[in-house]
């Protein structure tokens, strides 16, 4: 499925705005994403492996925090995942 990569993280995906990553759940897709692009790991996850709180993940239009299964929500090929970091003017929380 498609993952939308925010500008500050595109340096780690070779400049790509969208990448295609297989997986059957959100967490499965993310695991594959960080396997394909290892530099994303530190930006998206804490050392303990939790998603950083100032990074939001949307499955299609929905924030995964509010989906019943959260990170374990099932995904289909046509779905899109969007990563949205906290931004404020010249600042961004990840690079």
């Amino acid at each position: 499925m498609k993952i939308h990569i925010p500008t500050p993280l595109r340096t780690y995906t070779g400049g790509q705005e969208t990448v295609n990553v297989p997986g059957s759940t959100v967490s499965g897709v993310l695991a594959q994403l960080t396997k394909d692009y290892p530099a994303l790991q530190a930006n998206l996850f804490t050392p303990e492996g939790k998603l950083r709180s100032f990074v939001n993940l949307y499955l299609n239009e929905d924030d995964i925090r509010y989906l019943p299964a959260k990170e374990d929500s099932p995904t289909q090929d046509g779905d899109e995942l969007t990563i949205i970091p906290s931004i404020a003017g010249g600042y961004c929380c990840c690079r």
Partner: protein, 406 residues
């Protein structure tokens, strides 16, 4: 949804105003009553920079009766790439004064209230309380959280927009039954992960685009028309020219706007964001822009002055200077050091492994990225790494005045 503007007695419009706003008046969605609502409205623009400039201009043009402007800063030439409310003639002036000139020139009917101050926990509630809508156009996380919390505590809608490079976000926070900023981002990022203003860079038009979106949302709230971005996050990607909206939910456990709020008064936002209090240099932004580390050692990395580096270079000491900026910065100004951008440094350490025990001095533009790079090298076992405090900007200021500053 509309906001609670006193509808009891809306101010009358003069003949001059009726003539000025004719294009609004002939729209059924605005009409006389809508224009009167605009005249009665009081909007506070927090920041008169990239976002605040188009925002304030369009609100003034639309006939908003009272505009408050909060800004402590002065106009700098580098602002003019995007802050269209200022001009070459006002470089050096206080931004609130400069903005007022342009705003009153556009619309003399406007009542401008200037707050030449930094918004803090001590003054925010007092400043915000007299306005109907707050439009946040600031460029740092502390103020974002401060404005958000103050708006929720006061029950005022917050017309939010933020930008970074080519992307922007917009929403309305703090509306009744709507989410607030903390529902979206409960915690700020730790400062270690935040690059300085200078590294971000921004396409000048981007805050223009988002600032007008902010103004649009503000006007919709005043007039009570259309569907304001309550419960929606607009994502703008200027490079792809794509606009998407995502659903934002009010978090019932939100510490500020939830059912059992734990934040019932403004907190110390510097502490919340893990930022050290600004010293005598003044407001945090200025302290960071002029990033001259006063401490001799930061996080275990010695800070070297440009004067010391110059001495070492002149004495042809056996040092290795590394530039960690991006390739496109080198043609602007360079001291001739080899380049490995900080983002690729970890992956390219092998290229400089022979210098592991040499005296290594790292520089970037202002000293922030090079500090990060120094930590990366120290982690990788380099034994003698220093950060050039103030970066190439300090070099231009103190050693080579012919060098352009950017």
């Amino acid at each position: 949804m509309a906001i609670a503007i006193e509808e009891v007695t809306l101010p009358k419009l003069t003949n001059e105003e009726i003539s000025r706003y004719s294009r609004h008046l002939i729209l059924p969605e605005v009409g006389m009553e809508g224009q009167q609502k605009l005249k009665a409205a009081k909007v506070l623009c927090v920041g008169t920079g990239g976002l605040g400039a188009p925002l304030a201009l369009y609100l003034a043009a639309a006939g908003v009766g009272t505009l408050g402007l909060v800004d402590f800063d002065t106009v700098d030439a580098s602002n003019l790439q995007r802050q269209v409310i200022h001009s070459t003639a006002t470089v050096g002036m206080l931004k609130v004064d400069s903005a007022e000139l342009m705003l009153k020139g556009l619309n003399p009917n406007l009542n401008v209230i200037k707050h030449n101050t930094m918004l803090t926990s001590a003054n925010a509630l007092d400043i915000l309380k007299d306005y109907d809508i707050i439009a946040d156009g600031t460029d740092n996380f502390q103020t974002r959280y401060l404005v958000n919390d103050a708006c929720v505590l006061l029950g005022k809608p917050n017309s939010y927009a933020s930008i970074f490079r080519f992307e922007g976000q917009a929403s309305i926070f703090g509306a009744k039954d709507g989410p607030c900023y903390r529902c979206l981002y409960p915690e700020p990022p730790p400062p270690g992960l935040v690059p300085s203003c200078a590294e971000g860079g921004v396409l000048g038009i981007l805050p223009g685009l988002l600032g007008v979106i902010q103004a649009t949302e503000t006007i919709k709230l005043i007039l009570g028309i259309g569907e304001p971005l309550v419960g929606r996050l607009l994502l703008v990607d200027a490079l792809g020219m794509s606009f998407r909206t995502l659903k934002l939910r009010k978090n019932p456990d939100c510490p500020v706007c939830g059912t059992h709020p734990t934040v019932t008064e403004l907190i110390d936002y510097d502490q919340f964001c893990g930022i050290e209090k600004p010293k005598d240099l003044g407001p945090l932004e200025i302290a960071q822009n002029k990033a001259v580390a006063e401490a001799a050692v930061v996080d275990g990395i010695p800070q070297m002055s440009v004067q010391t580096l110059k001495k070492k270079l002149d004495a042809k000491e056996n040092i290795f200077v590394l530039d960690v900026r991006e390739p496109h910065e080198v043609p602007i100004a360079s001291i001739g050091a080899p380049l490995i951008p900080v983002g690729s440094l970890a992956a390219r350490i092998a290229e400089i492994a022979s210098h592991k025990n040499d005296e290594v001095i790292i520089h970037c533009r202002s000293g922030a990225r090079s500090q990060k790079a120094a930590l990366i090298l120290k982690e990788a076992g380099f034994t003698n790494v220093s950060n050039l405090a103030g970066g190439i900007l300090a070099w231009a200021d103190n050693i080579d005045p012919s060098m352009p500053k950017y």
